[in-house]
Subunit: 258 residues, 2 copies
DNA sequence: TAGTGGTCTAGACCACTCA
DNA sequence: GAGTGGTCTAGACCACTAG
């Protein structure tokens, strides 16, 4: 509680980790909730800047005079809430400030609008599967034939940001995609077809184990799910897209009034 | 796997609960993930229609030949994912079909568009606080003076659906609001001012303990967070709104092309 | 190899619901 | 009071990371 600044030594990232205190237990409130509240108080209160390593679970448990599992439960909740981040075999850290990347609605692609702000976007292809036209649920009247399912990961500033999927006619799928631009920017460059973002649908869901692995988050963490359709200038469906986006880094802004 | 129908007896809700099987463990996959996968297989595969009560945690644990805590961990994940629902002292149940209420973008209020589909919407006032104009962050140029913060819960078909907050000039806040219509529908009826939905921002977050209590869900469950501004016909800000919406029941559809 | 988080067990007690 | 989910403990072992 002394008013000294956070004068951390060179390279030091350990400044003032929360240590144990006797918890004031209230009737009807679970112990792990108390631990969670106490940790939140200490972390959010700013005593521990982002990146600070928390004491080990064992020592936290000892400090609180409780079981390690109780501490783990509190930490798991905080991780799902985006307050801390755990690394297996390394430790638990205060999360970087959840800078929410505002994605203002516009007809430009994400990569383009981010580039305008000096942010780097990288796409990494995860899986490309080609399916005969019969199987895919979406229909592409003007481009009959096989469809391609393109799974890729988008990263912003080297941080995993979304797990995305695009289903589009094989004839339009980019070849030798290097990921420096969006697949649709590439499509326009290759074919001259203008891509327009049409319907968008928003929901949320818990991260699956697969989501978690690719997005470097914990299973169960809330994701913003954006699905939609891209069309050409005439309004014909070009592609069906789905993004599983890290909610702690995303805010999708739409202007309903034009 | 037999093809019989789900001829449940009168009042019976117990048809074919998943019982224990020896789990095929795979290297590197946690036991609770296997349990989760097995339960999901059985439930989603349709062997157990919504509302069916699962066996108790103790008997599931015995059936799987594992510890109760392992089963609990699997069930907690499924609950966060909206697959099952637990009731303290009663049991665990397969969730009602996650009918995603599509909220097509339109200028009508939620209550109105839902009423058109024969769905009932009920608003329940949780808290009304009046604040002097100086404190509230939003500014309402045309209506100076105190602002009112209106917290309410919206339920669809008797199911909690969103925890909502509206901040608007005290002069416009509805008096004696009975909750049968949206506060803004009421505002239009009272004052004749047309309310337009302007900017909307979408994100997701984990349910806090408070969210969880009001929405009848589990802490940590993903919520769709919709914030925005309502304006009058001239585009002046009328109110700032925020909805914490149950993601398992929501899909917010926006048409970007007009 | 030491330290960390990840998983799992066995058992206990409590809080809640309902017959 | 029986049965259910909710919490908590003590202790064990594993998987991963880094010096």
């Amino acid at each position: 509680m002394n008013g000294e600044g956070r004068d951390v030594g060179p390279g030091a990232r350990e400044s003032r980790p929360p240590s144990g205190t006797p918890l004031a237990r209230r009737a009807g409130v679970a112990l792990y909730e108390e631990v969670k509240a106490d940790l939140t108080r200490r972390l959010v209160a700013g005593e521990s800047p982002p990146g600070v390593k928390l004491p080990s679970e064992a020592s936290l448990a000892q400090g609180y005079g409780t079981n390690r599992l109780t501490v783990r439960r509190a930490l798991a909740d905080l991780a799902r809430g985006g307050v801390v981040r755990t690394e297996h075999g390394v430790g638990t850290f205060v999360r970087e400030p959840s800078v929410r990347h505002r994605i203002d609605d516009g007809q430009g692609s994400l990569s383009e609008s981010m580039a305008e702000r000096g942010l780097s976007v990288v796409h990494q292809v995860i899986e490309v599967t080609e399916e005969p036209s019969a199987t895919g649920p979406p229909e592409f009247p003007r481009w009959p034939g096989a469809t391609v399912r393109l799974r890729h990961r988008r990263s912003l500033e080297d941080t995993p940001w979304s797990l995305s999927e695009a289903v589009l006619p094989a004839a339009l799928a980019p070849r030798d995609w290097d990921g420096t631009e969006s697949p649709f920017t590439r499509l326009t460059r290759d074919t001259g077809i203008a891509v327009r973002r049409a319907r968008r649908s928003f929901s949320a869901d818990a991260a699956t184990a697969d989501d978690a692995r690719w997005l470097d988050i914990q299973t169960g963490t809330p994701l913003l799910i954006v699905t939609g359709v891209n069309t050409d200038a005439e309004g014909n469906d070009l592609a069906h897209i789905q993004h599983h986006t890290r909610a702690d880094r995303t805010e999708y802004v739409v202007n309903l009034l034009v």
